[in-house]
Amino acid sequence: MAIIEVDGLVKRYGGHTAVDGVSFAVEPGEIFGILGPNGAGKTTTVECIEGLRRADGGSIRVCGIDAQSGDGELRQVLGAQLQESELPDKLRVGEAMELYSSFYRDPADWRELIETLHLTGKLNAPFRKLSGGQKQRLSIALALVGNPRVAVLDEVTTGLDPQARRDAWDLIERIRDRGVTILLVTHFMEEAERLCDRLAVIDAGRLVALDTPAGLVARVDGRQRVRFRPSAPLEHAVLTALPEVSSVERAGSQLVVTGTGNLLLAVTTALAREQIVAGDLRVEQTTLDDAFVALTGRRIDATNSAGSEEI
């Protein structure tokens, strides 16, 4: 049975429909990703699941609890890590953990959590003295301190450096191994591909696809590209005549051959027949990035380059 069921979720702000009929179900033990560009409605969707916002339509159940009913039981089973929320400047790490664990019926051992999150050395550090990565880790620890069955992590690695991001990924996998179902909001392709068992792709408030990362890629097409520098001039017809090849393009000194099936074997066999050597030969597979473009008509990071995310 699904642990999170979202059915026909609608949320409007004034005349703008931020979430427009989104439905999905998350299975226990999954890392379920919600992927989409900024402003797609990802955060609004999870805030409705967390009970922070009232939906204008549809229903949401988490562990069988109606998330919109204001039932306090929801907050016992769901741990949330929010985008843009802070703790009081002078609250210390240990105090925050102690405080938050007092809110729950059956809290986790917060010292062990702090250990897992490599914050033990920061127990007495006030919140404002923590680095971005430490704040994020504390915020994950607080989301887990109530021993939740579901943890919602919203853009948890945004603003982290690449190493801290990889550490966070390891951590998220370890949390799942503890039996916690994870709902992960992200706009990083690499993160979605690496972590998520399944992905809901949301664009402009609508669910445009729901599949495994590999499934999404396969769904776009089975196309591959072979790229090489021919050792001698080559008639394109030699390649276009092959059933596997759909197109041949010249890119500088290189040829880019697009096609399906066993493209690489077909191309290299044909080249061998012509006694041409393929230099710098590379095979490119369709990525989740390509899948996203095909699904939404634009790149996920069209507005901001992957290296310099907004904090």
Binding site: L82, S85, S102, F103
Partner: protein, 246 residues
């Protein structure tokens, strides 16, 4: 520890870590009493006051000012800044209920301001020979009613203010008229009939008179107690009505 006591302990610690807030909310009123008491004319009996000295009249004013400072400069800004920074939003995803959160703030505020009141009474008694409350139960009841009314007003300011900066501006705007009618510049004894009637209807005017009555050994007038209760109910109700998590 329960959520309420853990929150109260945490909030008290955080409060004590802000020296400027502590100075205005807790230390300022006792210091003002000392400054006033050091003026010789304040310590001379005034025949029109039935032999009381100005310092005797000022002690309840200073006590009520302590509460007003705490609620309007401490409590309201604290809440507004928690909301601004998303602290409240984060708490909202936990099982802690708003009433527990507000309860902890009020408990902390009550403990701190009762301590301030005790310090003021002790300074008055030891340094300037101001008599202690004659009717202690009445004094404590009056004190708690003033504190509740003012805390409710502080929470209302926090609920209405869009940011912590505006909470502090609105807080000052509310503070000065209230403290005027408490008699800080013109004691109630010296107010004209109209001014005194207005003062009777303000939380601090009614509060100062109730504290003074209890000090003299009498029970406060029902009107003043009713005024204090009315402010608590109305301001508290509006604060709950307009309370926002974010």
């Amino acid at each position: 520890m329960s959520a309420l006591s853990r929150l109260t302990v945490t909030e008290t610690r955080l409060f004590l870590r802000e020296p400027i807030v502590v100075f205005f909310a807790v230390a300022f009123a006792p210091i003002l009493l000392i400054v006033l008491g050091l003026i010789p004319s304040m310590r001379e009996p005034v025949p029109e006051l039935g032999g009381l000295r100005m310092i005797d009249i000022y002690l309840p004013i200073v006590v009520s000012m302590g509460i007003a400072l705490f609620s309007l400069s401490g409590l309201s800004q604290l809440f507004a800044s928690y909301r601004e920074k998303g602290v409240l939003r984060r708490l909202r995803t936990t099982p802690v209920r708003p009433v527990v959160l507000i309860g902890a703030q009020l408990l902390m505020a009550t403990i701190m301001s009762v301590l301030t009141m005790l310090v003021i009474l002790a300074i008055g008694r030891l340094a300037f020979d101001v008599r202690l409350p004659g009717q202690l139960t009445a004094y404590l009841i009056a004190y708690l009613l003033v504190a509740l009314a003012m805390f409710a007003i502080g929470l209302l300011v926090a609920a209405l203010a869009p940011s912590s900066k505006s909470a502090s501006a609105i807080g000052s705007l509310v503070f000065f008229p209230l403290i005027f009618f408490a008699g800080l510049w013109l004691p109630r004894e010296a107010m004209s009939g109209t001014l005194r009637t207005i003062s009777d209807l303000t939380p601090l005017g009614a509060g100062v008179q109730s504290l003074q009555d209890a000090t003299a050994g009498q029970w406060p007038q029902p009107l003043h107690l009713a005024v204090l209760l009315a402010w608590t109910v109305v301001a508290g109700g509006l604060a709950a009505r307009y309370f926002r998590w974010e």
